[in-house]
Amino acid sequence: MADTILEMRGITKKFPGVTALEDVNLTVTRGEIHAICGENGAGKSTLMKVLSGVYPHGSFEGEIVYDGSPVAFGSINDSERLGIVIIHQELALIRYLSVSENIFLGNERRDRAGFLDWNRTNHEAAELLAQVGLDENPTTPVGHLGVGKQQLVEIAKALSKNVRLLILDEPTSALNDTDSEHLLDLLRRLRDEGITSIIISHKLNEVASIADRTTIIRDGRTVETIEMDGSPGLQERIIRGMVGRDLETFYPERESTIGEEVFRVEDWTVMHPTQPGRVVVDHATLSVRAGEVVGIAGLMGAGRTELAMSIFGRSYGRHVGGQVYLHGVPVDTSTVADCIRHGIAYVTEDRKGYGLNLIDDIRHNISAAGLSRLSRGGLVDANAEIAVAETFRSDLGIKAPSVLSLVGQLSGGNQQKVVLGKWLYTEPEVLILDEPTRGIDVGAKYEIYGLINRMVAAGKAVVVISSELQELLGTCDRIYTVAFGRVTGEVPTAEATQENLMRLMTLERNVTDETLQPEVVR
């Protein structure tokens, strides 16, 4: 029997209205690298937050046994004291502080009088950097380092806290292949020095190469824990575990009458706005026909939203390259106003951050993108505006006492309908919906699917971006898969399964370099 360092038993974590984790069990052996896999929203990060004390003891059910004794963490400080350190996907480093300052942030090295002991700080930082194989001066500001090196600084910071169980959330999602390889090597070396790691990753190749065991989580439950003994078919087994549900009959029926091509994006390439040289969208090409719903499937960070937002008035990224065609004619989409004029609409995935003015009312939010239709000589016709808002309120079933109600007071589903109303009022030909049902309840989801059907029935072209494969299978005619910025596949829904989509969504660049063309399943 192997020596168990951590056992989480029967973990159940509920949020208002949602059960994020239900009876999850996780056993981690001392000195192993344990991978956790699951779809977006499966509950991986929630589980790690429970473990590290971000969600304090008492806010969840179940027990955590660490090093042979039950523990009750009240905060992240409690777990760190016992050597459990979590490194989040979004690195928690302060750009303007030096490497050594970052390493000892909150854990400062002080002399007897209580002042900072800079010699000791920099000396110890240098030792830690040597340990993680980072050849940088400890006084360099962190902002001057690339993401790969920043990741190493995070690990050095963890080591400074005498880490014994290191948790990494998507550590390589922002790294290139060399940096990733370097990081994985480091994890192996740390393992040999007795540090246990838990790694959350979407990259199945990576999981296969580094993990000793893998636990799969789906819909807040543990599916199984697999010994990664190198036997064939392990990746397929993981994929099956991640998606294995039945497609419920949850989607309104729809007759597809597909016409001519309306919208086409060719050779679309986008660079990261702040990290020079990082390609976020890589020569993507896709098309949508009239009356067609096309899905874009991809895991978090695959570049789906970046693709959509860069098309929509270059709202994301730098050095956007490529061409958009409407009805075969090249069009300029370099500003949002251009897109609206050409009949392209984009419903953002982040409705609170990018979609709505929460402190204004329904009326003004709905008219926000189509004010030119309501105004003459710059003067808005207030009565017509109310009439428009009323139309959409009844048409979309927005539940609110009045169109003068503040949007911030509506439920998520009703807020989403307001955003949809805003874009429907611009009378788009092409409607790009980014995570249209994120965080809204089942009833509202169904209504939004019905709305998509009405749009295509009216001959519009609809693009649906979603993390939920089931949703794409239920609503789309055709699905593109994207992975790491590239379009890796194009699958008619009739032939698509969650398994083959997930395989295409996890295709890494090095595997498919020979076959740069997207795979078309026929």
Partner: protein, 392 residues
């Protein structure tokens, strides 16, 4: 007049705004109780002459704040534009209107300068206008060669200190003043009636007819009482007409134009505005240009009021204007506020200064009290928001 009226209509919907109106009424009542001279014809006329430039600054500042910015340079700009007008009129003997045009031109130019840095370069307005506050003050000293210029005299002096009266004769009160007020009230009642009819046509919720009539009568009574007092003193101040026109124009600009809507959108959620096709740079640029223009108007009025230009004029005016906006319901984070709110906020500041002066309260105490009022007003705002919802 329009200001007070529109605030009444707001009172039904917005707790924050109606709270301000109530506060205003209470403050006025308090000063009337403490000093019987407060509502006298002479003092009301004085109020108008003394504080209109702050109200004009508050109008522009409200738009700036709704857009999510701030402008610290308006005090210096008031001084600079007044100085330019003084140099043109007094030193070079040009007619009054050349001086006014020169001042307004400088205001537009400065606004475009600050708009460039805010909108095109993308420097926060706080920094741009802090720099402007220093620069324009320095330029004022240079334009004036470190000495005051006075007097303007003539028509320029009448801009702030003149009255339109006697045009229709008088029997102890000025008929013309009352006629103008009457037309204003009738116009207001008519526009309210049309608005109500429009809403009814679109099946919107409207207040009941008796309530509507009571509200109109109440507003008309207050406004006409104010007009009656003015007519018993020196008649209709020119500056009040200027102020009324500005309030009207800017109320329409903010509430009924695409531009105004875009200002609210940018202040409410910059990202959402950008993704809705709002030309953020364009809007921000013109917000700053407009502030420059209104600061120039205030500069003309203030220099007319003091009948000259002083290097130190307009000191701290920006803070009075900003305070007026926040007292009048603007949100610190932008996206919320009304022109009428700025006016009521400005009136609260004005009435408090004036009332305390009448009572002989020392200036030092006045400043403490005004500071406290600002703190309480915004504190109430923050408190009610926190209680209202966790999403904001």
């Amino acid at each position: 007049m329009n200001a007070v009226a529109s605030v009444w209509e707001l009172a039904q919907r917005n707790v924050r705004q109606s709270g301000i109106v109530v506060a205003f009424v209470v403050i006025c009542g308090l000063f009337t109780f403490l000093n019987s001279n407060f509502l006298s014809p002479g003092n009301l006329t004085n109020l108008v002459l003394q504080y209109s430039y702050i109200l004009i600054l508050a109008i522009g500042m409200m738009i700036v704040i709704i857009g999510g910015h701030i402008d610290l340079s308006v005090g210096s700009l008031v001084a600079l534009t007044g100085a330019v007008a003084a140099v043109v009129v007094i030193r070079h003997g040009q007619p009054w209107w050349v001086g006014v045009l020169a001042a307004l031109g400088v205001g537009l130019l400065v606004g475009a300068w600050q708009g460039f840095w805010v909108a095109v370069v993308g420097i926060p307005a706080f920094i741009v206008t802090l720099a402007g506050m220093l620069m324009f003050r320095g330029l004022t000293y240079q334009v004036l060669n470190n000495v005051s210029l006075s007097p303007f005299g003539g028509t320029y002096y009448q801009i702030n200190n003149g009255f339109l009266n006697g045009l229709l004769g008088g029997q102890g009160f000025d008929v013309f003043t009352l006629v103008v007020f009457g037309i204003g009230v009738a116009g207001y009642a008519f526009s309210q009636w049309r608005r109500r009819q429009g809403r009814i046509a679109y099946n919107q919720v409207v207040e009941s007819l008796p309530l509507f009539v009571v509200r109109l009568v109440l507003v008309a009574a207050v406004v006409m009482a104010f007009g009656w007092q003015l007519s018993q003193s020196r008649g209709l101040p020119v500056v009040l007409v200027i102020l009324a026109v500005l309030v009207l124009v800017y109320a329409v600009l903010t509430q009924s134009t695409v531009f105004g809507r875009h200002v609210y959108a940018i202040g409410g959620n910059l990202n959402a505005a950008r993704l809705s096709g709002v030309r953020v740079r364009f809007v921000n640029f013109w917000i700053m240009v407009n502030m420059g223009l209104l600061a120039a108007v205030a500069g003309v009025i203030y220099s007319s009021r003091t009948n000259g230009a002083q290097p130190g004029a307009g000191n701290m005016f920006e803070l009075d204007a900003i305070a007026a906006c926040f007292i009048g319901g603007a949100a610190v984070s932008g996206g919320v506020g009304r022109i009428t709110g700025a006016i009521v906020g400005g009136l609260i500041m004005a009435v408090m200064s004036n009332g305390m002066q009448l009572m002989g309260v020392p200036t030092s105490t006045q400043q403490v009290v005004k500071g406290l009022v600002l703190l309480v007003a915004v504190g109430f705002d923050v408190y009610s928001k926190r209680r209202g919802s966790a999403t904001v």
